[in-house]
C-alpha cells in the first residue's frame, strides 16, 4: 500500500503535468491531470484524518488538497478538506491560509449552489474579513467600495468612449447617465451586494455597452491584483487613465484588517469572470505621479481630516489636511488623485503619504482611515 508521502508525490507530479498541459494549451489533458492530482492529494490527506498530532504534515496535506480543489473549482471538496484540517491542531500560519481558502470556497459555492445567475451588466461584490459577519458588515466598508466602483465605471466609460482623460470637473451628463449604479437586494454571504450599471432595464440581446464596461473593469482588476503591469497596460494604454485606475483600485482592495477579501464576479461574454482582491493595499504607492528615491526627500505619512481648499475652484491642485498632530497642511495632489480619489474621501479621516518637492508638499498616496482599521492597527 502506498504511503501518504508516496501519494503526495504522485499528486504533485500530476499537478505539475496539469500545469505543463495548460501551458501547452491542452485544456482537456490539464483538466484530467488536475482531477488526478485532487484524487491523490485527498487520499494522502485522508490517511492523516485521525492523526491529529501529526503536524504540520496533516494540515499541509489537507491545505494542499483544498488548494487543488480550488484550482479544479470543486468548492465543496475544498470546504471538506479545510474543515478536516481545521478540526485538528494546525499551526497558526496554516490555519490562516485555510480560513482564506474557505472564504474563497464559500464565494464560489455561493454562486453555484444558490443558482445565482449574474447578468452581463451586473457585478456581484462580496467582502469578507474579521469585521464582516454572515450578511452583515460595517456600512462604511461596503458603501465606500460601492462609491469606488462607481468612480471606476465613470472612468471606464470615458476611456472606452475615447474621451481624453478629464483632469478636473464632473463627467458629462451622458457619461454620468450611463455610469449610474443600481443596488439590488443584498444576499447573505460574507456580505454580498449586486450592482447593475447604466440602466434599470436589462438589454436582452447582444453585448450592451454596460457589459463591455463591466468586463473591461474585471479584466483591469485582475491585472491589478496580479500586479501584472504589462496586462494592465494592454487593457488601459493611456497613462493618466491607468494611474487613476490604480489609485481607485487600491481604495477597493482589502485593508488586511477589517476586510481581508473583496470578490467581484460578473457574467462575461462567454464565461463567468471572477476576481478576488486579497492582496492588501500596498503602503508604497506605485502610480501616483513621479517619485524620487533620494535620501534627502523621504516620504512622510500624516493622518487627519481631508478638506478642500476652495470647492468653487475645480482646477485647484491643492487640498487641506487637518492633521491629528494639530497642524493644518496645504498639500499638492497630482491630477488623478485630485479628480478621482479626493472627491470620494472629502471630510473623511485619511492617511496620506507625502513627499517634499522643493517648497511644496506633494501627496502621493491616500487611504481612508476607518474606526475599525484604527482599532485593529
Amino acid at each position: 500500500m502506498a504511503s501518504g508521502r508516496d501519494l503526495h508525490h504522485q499528486a504533485m507530479e500530476a499537478l505539475c503535468l496539469s500545469d505543463v498541459a495548460r501551458m501547452r494549451g491542452d485544456a482537456g489533458q490539464a483538466r484530467d491531470h488536475l482531477a488526478q492530482a485532487l484524487d491523490l492529494e485527498t487520499k494522502a490527506a485522508m490517511m492523516y484524518a485521525d492523526q491529529l498530532e501529526t503536524e504540520p504534515t496533516r494540515s499541509i496535506l489537507f491545505r494542499g488538497a483544498a488548494t487543488v480543489a480550488m484550482r479544479a473549482r470543486d468548492w465543496r471538496a475544498a470546504e471538506r478538506m479545510v474543515s478536516f484540517a481545521l478540526s485538528g491542531n494546525p499551526p497558526d500560519a496554516i490555519a490562516d491560509d485555510l480560513r482564506n481558502i474557505l472564504e474563497d470556497a464559500h464565494f464560489g459555492r455561493h454562486l453555484l449552489a444558490e443558482n445565482v445567475a449574474i447578468a452581463d451588466d451586473e457585478i456581484d461584490i462580496t467582502i469578507a474579513g474579521s469585521r464582516v459577519g454572515y450578511g452583515i458588515a460595517p456600512m462604511e466598508e461596503v458603501f465606500q467600495r460601492a462609491e469606488v466602483l462607481q468612480a471606476l465605471v465613470v472612468r471606464a466609460n470615458e476611456r472606452l468612449g475615447e474621451i481624453p482623460y478629464r483632469r478636473h470637473g464632473r463627467p458629462s451628463r451622458e457619461i454620468a447617465k450611463k455610469s449610474r449604479i443600481f443596488v439590488q437586494t443584498a444576499r447573505a454571504a460574507s456580505l454580498a451586494l449586486r450592482l447593475r450599471i447604466g440602466s434599470d432595464q436589462h438589454v436582452l440581446e447582444g453585448m450592451s455597452e454596460a457589459s463591455r464596461v463591466v468586463s473591461d473593469l474585471l479584466q483591469s482588476l485582475d491585472a491589478f491584483e496580479k500586479r501584472d503591469d504589462r496586462a494592465l497596460e494592454s487593457v488601459i494604454p493611456d497613462e493618466a487613465y491607468r494611474k487613476s485606475f490604480v489609485l481607485l483600485a487600491r481604495q477597493l482592495a482589502p485593508d488586511g484588517k477589517s476586510v481581508k477579501a473583496v470578490h467581484l464576479a460578473t457574467q462575461g461574454h462567454d464565461a463567468r469572470l471572477m476576481v478576488s482582491l486579497v492582496k492588501e493595499r500596498e503602503k508604497e504607492p506605485k502610480a501616483a505621479g513621479p517619485r524620487t528615491e533620494s535620501a534627502e526627500e523621504p516620504h512622510v505619512a500624516y493622518t487627519g481630516e481631508l478638506r478642500l481648499l476652495d470647492s468653487t475652484n475645480e482646477e485647484s491642485e491643492y487640498f487641506l489636511l487637518i492633521g491629528d498632530d494639530g497642524e493644518n497642511r496645504r498639500l499638492f495632489a497630482p491630477a488623478e488623485l485630485m479628480s478621482d480619489v479626493i472627491p470620494l474621501l472629502y471630510k473623511h479621516r485619511v492617511r496620506v503619504t507625502v513627499r517634499k518637492d522643493g517648497r511644496r508638499l506633494v501627496c502621493e498616496d491616500m487611504e481612508r482611515v476607518t474606526s475599525d482599521s484604527e482599532e485593529s492597527s
Binding site: M12, C16, Y48, A93
Partner: protein, 186 residues
Amino acid sequence: MPRLKIDLDHLAANGRPGLTQSEAGHLVEAAAIAAEAGGTPIPLDMVFTGIKSCKPRVTGPTVTDQMRRCYADLDEAVEWGACSIATVAMEVLQGLTVWERSPKSGFGFDYYLAPLNQEDDAAHANFFAEATHVLEVSGTLQDDATEMDRRVKEKLRRLKRRPQILPAIVVVVDFRRVRAKAVKHG
C-alpha cells in the same frame, strides 16, 4: 577555490527528495527557455547577491523547438525556471535541498527545504516536520533594473505581516540582467 556551479542537467537527471525526475526536468527546461527569452542562453554566468555574493556558472539543456512549443506561456516558464535555479542555488549556497512541495493558492508551489545530508526515512509519517526552511521564489524578465529588488521587498513585506511556520529564504531571479538575489527572513 573551485568555481561555484549551478548544474541544471544534474537536477533534471536525478530529481530531489521532494521533486520527481519528471518534475525537475520540466523546471529545468523552463529555465533554459527563460534564459533564452532574457537574451542570455544557458550556459551563462549569473551574479548572486544577498546572503552570498558570487557568480556561479549555470549549465543546462539546449533549447529545442519542442521545448519552445511546450512552454508557450513565458510568464509561467520564467517562474518555473527561477524555481530550478533557486533549487540548485540553495544546495550550493546554503547546503539545503528541496525536501517537499505543496501547492500554493492560484498557481505554483511552496518549497520546503531540509539539509542536504538529511536521511530520507520513507516510513516517517510526519515528513513535513523534517523541513527546516521554506523557499519563496520569483522570476522576472521585465526590462526594469529595480524589479528584482522590488519583488524581494514585496515578498519580505508579506512574510513579515503573517506568522510563518519556518524561517524563509526569498530568491528572485532576473533572467534579463542575468542576476539573482537571495535573502533570509526569520
